[in-house]
Amino acid sequence: MTEFFTVKRIDNSRVVRIAAPRRLRECARLVGLAALLATGVLLYAWQHFQCIQMSYQLEELKAARAQAMEFNQELRLEVAGLRSPMRIDAIARHQLGLTAPVPGQVAPMQTPGGPILAQARRSSPPAAQ
């Protein structure tokens, strides 16, 4: 007996899958929650490491400040040494040829008081341009 083999062609291309809105909403909610959770974790981690970075920077700034203060102290010490009366006296005498004034050679100036001086300055004519 002869058998006939038939192929049934099934074309499902025109089949439209019916969307399940509830399912989609559930899925979207799930994804959103997961994203939120992930963002929170990432944010926490970022802050934590940012804090550590800033701690490093803070310590570097503290060290720089301490170094600057120490350098300032060294400079003050150097200035104090340069301002030594002995040194200045020797420079004045030996290098510049200066000598101490004799008594009476230098007289202190007697300047008028503040208000009087201010009034004198205000009443004096301005300098010509």
């Binding site: 102290q73 150097e78 104090a80 340069l82 030594s84 002995m86 040194r87 420079i91 009476g104 230098v106």
Partner: protein
């Protein structure tokens, strides 16, 4: 069950994922919950470090906030010998830098496996050389070191510290607890690369800064002149003190020998001794100011009373005491001016031992002054019940009593200050950062009345004008003081030495409104040895410079010849060529001995024209004020432009300076009032200088 069905496959994958998730979470839970403590401890051990913080020692300033002593960080080096592979090589390399032998360093390295000091507080250049070597096992550490940038300036007041910055002398010692500060600890978190990422300080406290009453420029003037005087007189030691007459603030305290606190190890104990407060000596004739002050205050004599000085010899209880010169009849003013021992003895005997003792204690002798420096001696004054029959006589002329320089200048200062003894002090204030707290009111007490003090000031001027100290006469200023020449005790014989003397001069200027009191003492001058010959000229040089520096108005005209010399045209031959001047090349180690002191008034080489025209100040002649009321006296003084000091009520009985005296505007005039009519008075002997 069909293993190939999608459902089963999904279940297998899910089960696998679930298994790994459970494993991971379990591991996390185990680590976080059960092993938390253990890992926390390990982290702390690795990250936590404790750094010791050395306290910042406070800065010492002069009164104008110039730094006199301060600390900075310097490098010290230590070794961890267990980390060094080749000890010999390291020792060889370091020995060249540290100026020591390799064996020394090898011995140190062999001493411990973990820590050994190699060198502490090295100069920067040596520290840099060691750092450049980059030797494994050798580590730098910062330590604080004290520096005194002005070297030996005020060294006896500042003091010095040891290698651990502990005060050992001077203010560094007496205020060590305030200046030192408190060490602290810093808790540090470090990562694997030893970078710090967190730190917190605990307990560290910086030391207080201290402001002294010293003026570094006046101190330098005093040290320079002392050094010059020592060289000129070949003395073995000396002291110059400068004090503010009204407040008792010590503006300068110079001692010789001196030392550099930066290298205190090179100085002998003799050089480090603060002679101004610790060295005792018999004051000699300077002490007559106490005798005469007491006699005048008690009213048992007057400046014009004539005393027979018995041609230079007096017998006291069978003991013959000789004067330095045979004087006949002298007024009490002349006794002081010419420094008659016999005259002083007669006044001392008239006063009596108990009263003399009271005034000696009143003037601050026999007890420490309380100055804020360590090692002060209380002086030598026997209790009254230990006095012999000769003691009042001896003590009246300045023997049988030991004083310190600070006691002597404080006593003279009482006279300059209107009769009030003020505690001498070097501390002006202290505090942290810019918050400085003043030390507050200084102890004072009245010793003699203002009129007595004013009378004494006039008499002391006589010492300079016509007495034993003409060399103390100042140009442009009035001055008063007293000389003293005391024999030293020869330790080998226990008797007074005929060749060793202490030459002193203590004085103040100007006399009507004293600005500064100055003491000069020279120990064992060779050749000339009288106070008037060797110490008075030093007083003059110091006083003229200090008064000009302080801008104290002159109250005397300057010698016209001196002024003319100052106006001479500049000689080009003497003009210094400063075209190659480079301040950076100057070495700051020039000793004061190399500095030339200002020229004497008769050897003026001044060639530079003045920058200001000299203006003579206004002077007024004091009219008689006796018999006037308080209001009338005030009006007269206001008209004259002088400053009255009014004592008592009623009518004016006495004025100092006396009527007819020429004084400068702004000077002080002391007027005593009372209820009775003034007695008839004779004019004083000796003309007042115009």
């Amino acid at each position: 069950m069909d293993w190939r069905s999608p459902r089963v496959r999904l279940l297998i994958v899910a089960a696998t994922v679930l298994f790994w998730m459970v494993a991971a979470v379990s591991r996390l839970a185990y680590l976080q919950l059960f092993c938390y403590g253990d890992y926390l401890n390990r982290a702390e051990r690795q990250q936590h470090r404790i750094v010791e913080i050395s306290p910042h020692r406070g800065i010492l300033y002069d009164r104008n906030m110039h730094e006199l002593a301060m600390s900075v960080s310097v490098d010290s080096f230590f070794a961890v010998p267990s980390e060094i592979t080749d000890h010999d090589m390291v020792a060889r390399l370091l020995s060249r830098v540290l100026d020591t032998t390799p064996d020394d360093i090898s011995t140190k390295l062999a001493g411990s496996a973990n820590f050994v000091w190699l060198a502490r507080k090295l100069p920067p250049e040596k520290a840099e050389r060691i750092k450049e070597m980059n030797l494994h096992g050798i580590y730098p550490v910062k330590e604080r070191q004290r520096f005194y940038p002005k070297h030996q300036l005020a060294s006896h007041i500042l003091g010095y510290v040891d290698i651990d910055e502990k005060g050992l002398g001077g203010i560094e010692y007496s205020l060590d607890s305030q200046i030192r500060g408190r060490p602290g600890r810093m808790m540090v978190l470090a990562d694997a690369h030893r970078r710090w990422f967190d730190s917190s300080e605990k307990g560290a406290e910086a030391g207080s800064n201290v402001v002294l009453t010293l003026d570094q420029n006046i101190q330098y003037i005093a040290e320079k002149e002392l050094s010059q005087a020592i060289r000129d007189t070949h003395s073995i030691a000396g002291t110059i003190l400068v004090e503010d007459s009204s407040s008792g603030e010590v503006l300068a305290m110079a001692n010789y020998p001196t030392f550099d606190p930066n290298s205190r190890g090179d100085a002998s104990s003799d050089a480090r001794m603060n002679r101004a407060v610790a060295a005792l000596y018999e004051p000699g004739s300077v002490f007559k100011i106490v005798t005469l002050a007491a006699a005048l205050e008690e009213g048992i004599t007057t400046p014009d009373e004539v005393v027979d000085c018995q041609m230079g010899a007096i017998y006291v209880e069978g003991h013959r005491i000789r004067d330095h010169k045979p004087f006949g009849l002298l007024t009490v003013s002349q006794i002081l001016a010419k420094s008659s021992d016999v005259g002083a003895i007669k006044l001392g005997l008239r006063l009596g031992a108990p009263k003399l003792y009271d005034y000696i204690r009143g003037f601050g002798f026999g007890a420490p002054t309380g100055i804020d420096l360590p090692g002060e001696s209380r002086g030598l004054l026997r209790p009254l019940d230990h006095w012999t029959v000769v003691s009042p006589a001896s003590i009246s002329m300045g023997q049988e009593v030991g004083v310190t320089a600070i006691q002597l200048i404080s006593a003279m200062n009482s006279i300059a200050n209107g009769g009030v003894w003020v505690r001498p002090h070097v501390l002006r204030g202290y505090g942290k950062n810019d918050q400085l707290v003043s030390t507050g009111q200084v102890e004072s007490r009245r010793v003699i009345q203002p009129t007595t003090a004013a009378t004494l000031r006039s008499m002391l001027e006589g010492v300079v004008l016509e007495g034993t100290a003409p060399a103390a006469r100042l140009e442009g200023y009035t001055a008063a003081g007293k000389t003293g020449t005391a024999q030293k005790i020869d330790p080998s014989t226990g008797r007074y030495s005929p060749t060793k003397f202490i030459a002193s001069f203590v004085g103040f200027s100007p006399i009507n409104n004293p600005a500064v009191t100055i003491l000069v003492t020279l120990d064992s001058p060779v050749g000339l040895h009288e106070g008037g010959d060797v110490s008075a000229p030093v007083f003059k040089r110091v006083a003229e410079q200090v008064l000009a520096y302080l801008n104290v108005p002159q109250d005397e005209p300057v010698n016209p010849g001196l002024k003319r010399a100052g106006y001479q045209p500049k000689s080009t031959a003497l003009e210094a060529d400063s075209s190659d001047f480079d301040p950076g090349q100057f070495e700051s180690s020039t000793a004061p001995a190399d500095i030339v002191s200002p020229p004497q008034q008769h050897h003026v080489a001044q060639t530079r024209p003045p920058t200001l025209a000299l203006a003579d100040g206004e002077v007024v002649t004091l009219p008689p004020l006796t018999g006037l009321t308080v209001r009338e006296v005030s009006q007269q003084c206001a008209r004259l432009g002088v400053s009255p000091v009014l004592i008592g009520t009623g009518v004016a009985l006495e004025e100092v300076p006396e009527a007819g005296t020429t004084i400068r505007r702004g000077s002080r005039v002391t007027v005593r009032f009372g209820r009775q009519a003034p007695p008839m008075r004779t004019t004083p002997s000796g003309e007042r200088k115009n």
